[in-house]
C-alpha cells in the first residue's frame, strides 16, 4: 500500500486559538462590567451603549459565540484534520470561515452597542447578520464535510459525530428561530408572536446551550482528553448510546424554560420529562471522560491540562444534573427568574466551557509551537484561581436566588405579602452580588495568567505552520462483512448527517407544529387589541434598551405573583407581541401588568433617575431618552410589517399612523406638564417639547402593558379565585 505524505494546516488553528483568547478576555470583561452594575448602577456611565440592557447581550454573545465559538473551531480544525488524516478541504474556505466569523463578532458587538437588537435572548442579532451567520456556517459545513469525505481513515471517530450533529442542528435552530420580517436594514420583527415566539425562542435558546456549548465541546473532549492523558477511551458502547440519546432527547427540553408560563400545559410537561431523561445521556459523556482517566490519575496531579479537563467535566456533570432538577416544576417555581439560574449557567460556562477551552489551549499551543509550555506552575495557579473563582461566583448566586425567591413568596399571617416592596428583596442580596463579582474577577485574573503563559510559550517556540503527516489512502473496495452495526454508519458521514437531522428534528416538530396549528393552545381574548403607533414605537425602545434582561412580562399562576403583580398572564394576551418579551430574569419586578400602576409622571421621574424615586434602586438611568427625538419616519414601515404578520390594523392605517401617534404623545406630555416636579425637571433639563422625545413613547408602552384584560376579565377571574 502506498503511503501518502500531506500536511496539516496549523495556521488556521492558531488563528482561531488567538481569537478564542482575545474574545474570551473581551467577553469576561463585559461580564465583570455588568456584574458590577448590579451594586454600582453608576457603572453604566449613564451612557446608552454601556448600560446593562445593552451590555448584557454583548457579554452573552461574546462569551457564547465569540469565545466558545472560536474555541470550538480551534478544536475542530485541529482534531478533524488529524482524525481524518487529511488537511482541511480548502484553505480558502478556512480563511473565509475565520474572517467571516470574526467580522460577525465585530458587527454583533457594534450593533448591540447601538441598540440594534431583535430582543430575543441569545439571538439578538439583526437580520443582515443572521444571513451572514448562515452563509459562514454553510462555508464551515462545506469545509468540514469536504475534509471528512477526503479522509484517509475508514471510520469516523466519535468526536466527529458530535461535530456533525452540532453543525446540522445549529443550522436548523438558527434558521427557524431567525425568521423575521425586516422593517429596514437595522430593524426587524420576529415572524412569530407571543406564546409561539416564546416556544421557538426557547427551543432555540435551550438547544444553543445543547448544540453550541455542549455537543461540540464533548467532541473536543473525546479528542483532547485521551490525547492528553494517553489513555484509551473508556467505552465505545457508551459513546454510541449517549451520543444518540443526547441529541434525540435534548431538543425536546426547551419548554422547561417556560414552566408555569402561558405555554400550553402539555408542552410544559414534555419539557419536564425530557429534561429528566437527559440526566443519563449527559452523564454518559462525563463518565466516558472521567473513566478514560482510569490508570492516569497520577498524571492529573502533574499535568495542568488534565486538571482543567477534570474540573470541566465535573462541572459538566454538576450542571447537567442540576438542569433536570431545575426542570422539576416545584424546584422551578423557586428558582426561575432568580439568580439561581445565573449561577447554574455559569457553572456550565465558567466550569465546563471555560476550563475545556483553557485545557485545550494549554495542550495545543505548545504542540503547534513545538515547545513545552512556558510555565506549568503558572498554569496550575491559573487553574486554582479559576476554580476558586467559580466557587465564589456560583455559591453566592445560589444563595441569592434562593433567598430572594423565598422573600417573594413569603406571606404574613394576615394574607399580605411579607415583602411587598420588590426593592427590599433586591437590597437583601446585594452582598451576594458583590461576592459574585469578586469570583468573576479571580477567574478573569486567571485568564490573564494564561495569556501571559501562552505568549511566553509562543515566544520560546517555533511555529509549525504545516505539520507533516503520512497515511495510506482510503481503500475503496474493502470487505466490511461482519461489522458491528454502528461501524457501518461510521463509514458514511452523509448518512450520519441525515440521520442526525431526523433525530434532532423530531422533538422540535412535535412541540412546534401543534402550538402553531391547534387553535385551542392559544385561546383568543376579544379585548386584546393591537398597540397604538406610539406604543409600538415605545415597545421598540423597550426592546432596544434591553429592558427584558431585567424585567419579565410573565405573571405565573402563583398566589404571591398574583398578589404582587396582578392577574396571571394568559396565552391570548400576547398575540400581537412580535417578538414576545417574557424575559427570563427578574432583577427588577415583573411588568406584565405595569399599565396604569404608576402615573405617567412617576415613570418620567423614575426613568430619569430611579434613585431619586426609590432610594436604593439599582436600575440604570436613561437620560438619553429625554434628549433623543423619537424617529417617527419608521412608523408607516413598522405598521406595514405588522400588517404582514397578521396584526389587524385597518388598511391604509400606515398612512395615518403618525397622526394618531402625535395626538397620543401630546396627550401624555400635556398630562406630564401638570405635575410640578416633572415641570421642574423639564426646566432643569431644558426639555421644551417632551411630546417629541423617546421617553413619551416608552411611557405610552409601559402604561399599556397588560391593560387589555385588566378590566372586566380580571375582576371576574380574580373573584372566582377568591372563592
Amino acid at each position: 500500500m502506498q503511503v501518502e505524505k500531506f500536511y496539516y494546516d496549523n495556521k488556521i488553528v492558531r488563528a482561531f486559538a488567538y481569537a478564542t483568547v482575545l474574545w474570551g478576555i473581551v467577553g469576561m470583561l463585559a461580564g465583570l462590567w455588568v456584574a458590577i452594575q448590579f451594586y454600582a448602577p453608576a457603572a453604566s456611565l449613564n451612557y446608552a451603549g454601556t448600560t446593562f440592557g445593552r451590555l448584557r447581550p454583548i457579554h452573552t454573545n461574546a462569551v457564547i459565540f465569540a469565545f466558545v465559538g472560536n474555541c470550538m473551531f480551534t478544536g475542530i480544525y485541529y482534531s478533524l484534520q488529524r482524525l481524518c488524516k487529511a488537511r482541511m478541504f480548502s484553505d480558502l474556505l478556512s480563511k473565509i470561515h475565520f474572517w467571516g466569523w470574526q467580522s460577525i463578532i465585530v458587527l454583533a458587538a457594534l450593533t448591540l452597542f447601538f441598540g440594534m437588537t431583535t430582543g430575543k435572548e441569545y439571538a439578538e442579532l439583526e437580520w443582515p447578520i443572521d444571513i451572514l451567520i448562515t452563509v459562514i456556517w454553510v462555508v464551515f459545513g462545506i469545509n468540514m464535510f469536504g475534509t471528512i469525505i477526503k479522509r484517509r481513515e475508514s471510520h469516523i471517530y466519535v468526536a466527529i459525530w458530535f461535530y456533525i450533529a452540532t453543525w446540522i442542528t445549529v443550522a436548523m435552530l438558527h434558521i427557524v428561530n431567525s425568521i423575521e420580517i425586516p422593517v429596514n436594514l437595522f430593524k426587524s420583527y420576529s415572524w412569530y408572536a407571543g406564546v409561539q415566539d416564546a416556544l421557538v425562542q426557547w427551543w432555540y435558546g435551550h438547544n444553543a446551550v445543547a448544540f453550541f456549548l455542549t455537543t461540540p465541546i464533548l467532541g473536543l473532549m473525546y479528542y483532547f482528553l485521551p490525547k492528553a492523558a494517553n489513555r484509551p477511551v473508556y467505552s465505545y458502547r457508551l459513546s454510541i448510546i449517549h451520543f444518540w440519546a443526547l441529541i434525540f432527547l435534548y431538543i425536546w427540553a426547551g419548554p422547561h424554560h417556560l414552566l408555569y408560563t402561558a405555554l400550553p400545559d402539555w408542552a410544559q410537561s414534555l419539557g419536564v420529562v425530557f429534561s429528566v431523561m437527559l440526566i443519563a445521556p449527559s452523564w454518559g459523556g462525563m463518565l466516558n471522560g472521567l473513566f478514560t482517566l482510569r490508570g492516569a490519575w497520577d498524571k492529573v496531579r502533574e499535568e495542568p491540562v488534565l486538571k482543567f479537563f477534570v474540573v470541566a467535566i465535573t462541572c459538566y456533570g454538576m450542571s447537567t444534573f442540576e438542569g433536570p432538577m431545575l426542570s422539576l416544576k416545584n424546584v422551578n417555581a423557586i428558582a426561575h427568574f432568580t439568580d439561581w439560574i445565573i449561577g447554574h449557567v455559569h457553572i456550565g460556562g465558567l466550569g465546563w466551557n471555560g476550563f475545556m477551552a483553557f485545557g485545550m489551549l494549554y495542550y495545543l499551543i505548545p504542540k503547534m509551537f513545538n515547545t513545552p509550555l512556558y510555565s506549568k506552575k503558572l498554569a496550575t495557579n491559573h487553574f486554582w484561581l479559576g476554580t476558586i473563582g467559580i466557587v465564589l461566583y456560583a455559591i453566592p448566586l445560589y444563595w441569592a436566588g434562593f433567598t430572594q425567591s423565598l422573600m417573594w413568596k413569603q406571606f404574613t399571617e394576615d394574607g399580605t405579602l411579607q415583602y411587598p416592596n420588590f426593592l427590599e428583596t433586591v437590597t437583601q442580596i446585594i452582598p451576594m452580588y458583590i461576592t459574585r463579582s469578586i469570583g468573576g474577577t479571580l477567574y478573569l485574573i486567571g485568564a490573564f495568567f494564561m495569556v501571559y503563559n501562552l505568549y511566553k510559550t509562543v515566544k520560546q517556540g517555533s511555529f509549525i505552520a504545516d505539520e507533516a503527516a503520512e497515511a495510506a489512502p482510503l481503500e475503496k473496495a474493502h470487505s466490511h462483512a461482519k461489522e458491528y452495526w454502528h461501524r457501518v454508519i461510521e463509514r458514511k458521514p452523509m448518512q450520519m448527517l441525515v440521520i442526525s437531522l431526523i433525530v434532532v428534528a423530531i422533538g422540535g416538530l412535535i412541540e412546534l407544529i401543534p402550538t402553531f396549528l391547534v387553535k385551542s393552545n392559544i385561546p383568543t381574548i376579544a379585548s386584546v387589541k393591537p398597540y397604538t403607533p406610539l406604543e409600538l414605537q415605545g415597545r421598540d425602545i423597550y426592546i432596544r434598551e434591553g429592558c427584558y434582561t431585567c424585567h419579565s412580562q410573565m405573571i405565573r399562576p402563583f398566589r404571591d405573583e398574583v398578589a404582587r403583580y396582578g392577574e396571571y398572564s394568559k396565552a391570548g394576551e400576547f398575540v400581537y407581541d412580535h417578538p414576545f418579551q417574557w424575559g427570563s430574569k427578574r432583577t427588577g419586578p415583573d411588568l406584565a401588568r405595569e399599565g396604569g400602576k404608576n402615573p405617567d409622571s412617576w415613570h418620567f421621574m423614575h426613568m430619569f433617575d430611579p434613585r431619586q424615586v426609590s432610594d436604593k434602586s439599582i436600575m440604570p438611568r436613561y437620560p438619553w431618552l429625554y434628549q433623543n427625538d423619537l424617529d417617527i419616519s419608521t412608523t408607516p414601515g413598522k405598521i406595514r410589517a405588522m400588517q404582514t404578520l397578521g396584526v389587524p390594523y385597518e388598511k391604509g392605517y400606515d398612512q395615518i399612523a403618525n397622526t394618531a401617534l402625535e395626538t397620543q404623545a401630546k396627550e401624555i406630555s400635556f398630562g406630564l406638564k401638570t405635575d410640578s416636579k416633572v415641570k421642574q425637571l423639564m426646566t432643569v433639563e431644558g426639555i421644551s417639547n417632551p411630546e417629541k422625545k423617546e421617553i413619551v413613547a416608552l411611557i405610552a408602552y409601559l402604561q399599556r402593558i397588560g391593560k387589555d384584560i385588566k378590566g372586566g376579565q380580571k375582576s371576574k377571574t380574580a373573584q372566582a379565585s377568591l372563592k
Binding site: P232, Y234, S235, Y236
Partner: protein
C-alpha cells in the same frame, strides 16, 4: 441472572423509598411550602445516596461472603450487614410515610407546623446517621479486605510465585463493572484514531438503570399530568393555593384582634405597639412625610392640623384607603389592619414633637375630644366596614 434480579431488587427499593414521597407530594399541600419542599428534596436525595451506598455495601459484603465461604467460615457478617441495611431502608420509607401525615399545627417554623418540621428534621438526621453507618461498614469491609491481602502476602512471603493471575476488584470497580486495567488488552477494539484507542467496556450498571428509571419517571409523569390528570395543572395548583390561603386567613381572622377597622379602632398606647408603629413608619412613610414626621411632599404629622381629620379613626381610614387624588396612596394591600392601627397610633404620638424643618400647617385645627368638623366617616367606608381588609 442473579445480577438482574439484584438490580430489580435495587430498583424496587429505590421506588419503595420514593413512592411514599410522591404520594405525599400529591396529597399534602404543605409541600407548597418551600422549606418543606427543600427538606423533602434533601431527604429524597439522601435516600438515593443511602440506596446507592447500600448497593455498594451489599456488593462489598457479597465479595466478603464469597471469600468466607471459600474459607468455609460462616458469612455471619454479611447477613448482619444486609439485615441492617434492609432495616434502614424500610425505616426510611416508613419515616417518610410518617412525615406525610400532617401534624396538628401548633406553632410555625418557616411556615411549617413545628411537629412536621421536626419530623422532617428527624428523618434527615436518621438518614445522615444511616449514611455514616454505611460508610463505616464500607470502611470496615474494605479494611477487612486489605488486611486479608496483607495477610496472604505475609503468608506467602517465602513462596516464589504470586497469585498474580486474578487482580482484586474493589467495590468501586464492581459498582461500575470495571475491568482491571491490566486486562484492557482483551477489550481493546483495535480502533486507532490519531493514536486514540477505544475500549469495549460495559455500560456502568447504575448508569443504565438510572436511565431506565428516568424513562419510567417520564412515562408516569406524562400519564399523570396529561392523560389521567391526577397531577394538577398550573391553573389548578393556583386555585388550590388560593383556597387554602383563604381558609387560613379566615381561621386567622377569627381572632378578634385582627378585625380592626376604621370604626372599631382605638388608640394604642402600649409602648411595644408604638415601637412597631414606628418601624412601619420608617419603612413606608418617611419618603413623603419625613423621618420625624415633619412632612416633605406629604403634610406635617406633628402639628395639630389635619387635612383628613385627626381622630385615630380618621387616620386609620386615611392610611387604609388613601386619598389618591392628593397622592396619599392606599395601604390596605401592604399593611394589615393591626399594622395600620399601630402606625396610626405612632403618628398620634408624634403630636407636639416640633421636629426641625417642619412643614407649614395644612388642613384644619383638630382638638382631641371635640366633634370632628368636616371629615365624613360614612359614605364609601360603610360598604366595606363589614369586610375585613385582606
Amino acid at each position: 441472572m442473579k445480577k438482574i434480579s439484584r438490580a430489580i431488587v435495587f430498583i424496587v427499593i429505590l421506588f419503595g423509598s420514593s413512592i411514599p414521597a410522591m404520594a405525599q407530594g400529591a396529597k399534602e399541600s404543605s409541600l407548597n411550602n418551600p422549606l418543606a419542599l427543600t427538606l423533602v428534596v434533601i431527604i429524597a436525595a439522601l435516600a438515593l445516596i443511602i440506596a446507592m451506598l447500600a448497593y455498594v455495601v451489599y456488593g462489598a459484603a457479597e465479595i466478603e461472603l464469597k471469600k468466607h465461604q471459600q474459607q468455609k467460615t460462616e458469612g455471619k457478617l454479611t447477613g448482619t450487614v444486609l439485615t441492617i441495611v434492609a432495616l434502614f431502608i424500610s425505616a426510611i420509607a416508613n419515616a417518610q410515610d410518617a412525615a406525610a401525615t400532617p401534624a396538628p399545627a401548633s406553632s410555625n417554623i418557616g411556615g411549617l407546623s413545628s411537629s412536621t418540621f421536626y419530623i422532617l428534621l428527624a428523618v434527615l438526621l436518621v438518614e445522615v446517621a444511616a449514611i455514616f453507618f454505611l460508610l463505616f461498614q464500607l470502611r470496615f469491609l474494605l479494611g477487612l479486605q486489605k488486611r486479608k491481602v496483607e495477610e496472604s502476602l505475609v503468608g506467602e512471603a517465602g513462596a516464589v510465585e504470586y497469585k498474580a493471575a486474578k487482580p482484586e476488584l474493589n467495590w468501586w470497580d464492581k459498582f461500575n463493572k470495571f475491568r482491571p486495567v491490566e486486562q484492557e488488552v482483551d477489550i481493546d477494539l483495535g480502533h486507532n484514531y490519531d493514536g486514540i484507542r477505544e475500549l469495549d467496556n460495559r455500560l456502568p450498571p447504575w448508569w443504565l438503570y438510572g436511565f431506565y428509571i428516568t424513562i419510567i419517571f417520564g412515562v408516569v409523569y406524562l400519564y399523570r399530568s396529561q392523560v389521567s390528570h391526577a397531577a394538577p395543572s398550573p391553573a389548578e395548583e393556583y386555585q388550590a393555593a388560593v383556597v387554602k390561603a383563604n381558609a387560613q386567613l379566615e381561621e386567622h381572622l377569627k381572632d378578634q384582634k385582627n378585625k380592626v377597622d376604621e370604626n372599631t379602632v382605638v388608640l394604642l398606647t402600649d409602648k411595644s405597639e408604638i415601637e412597631k408603629g414606628k418601624a412601619i413608619f420608617a419603612a413606608n412613610c418617611v419618603a413623603c412625610h419625613g423621618k420625624l414626621g415633619e412632612g416633605i411632599v406629604g403634610p406635617n404629622l406633628t402639628d395639630d392640623y389635619w387635612i383628613h381629620g385627626g381622630k385615630i379613626n380618621d387616620l386609620f381610614k386615611t392610611i387604609k384607603y388613601g386619598y389618591p387624588e392628593k397622592s396619599m396612596q392606599s395601604w390596605k394591600e401592604q399593611l394589615t389592619p393591626v399594622q395600620i392601627a399601630e402606625v396610626a397610633s405612632f403618628i398620634k404620638s408624634l403630636k407636639g414633637t416640633n421636629p426641625p424643618g417642619a412643614k407649614e400647617k395644612q388642613g384644619e385645627l383638630f382638638v382631641e375630644g371635640a366633634t370632628t368638623p368636616a371629615s365624613d366617616s360614612t359614605g364609601a367606608v360603610k360598604a366595606d366596614s363589614t369586610k375585613p381588609a385582606k
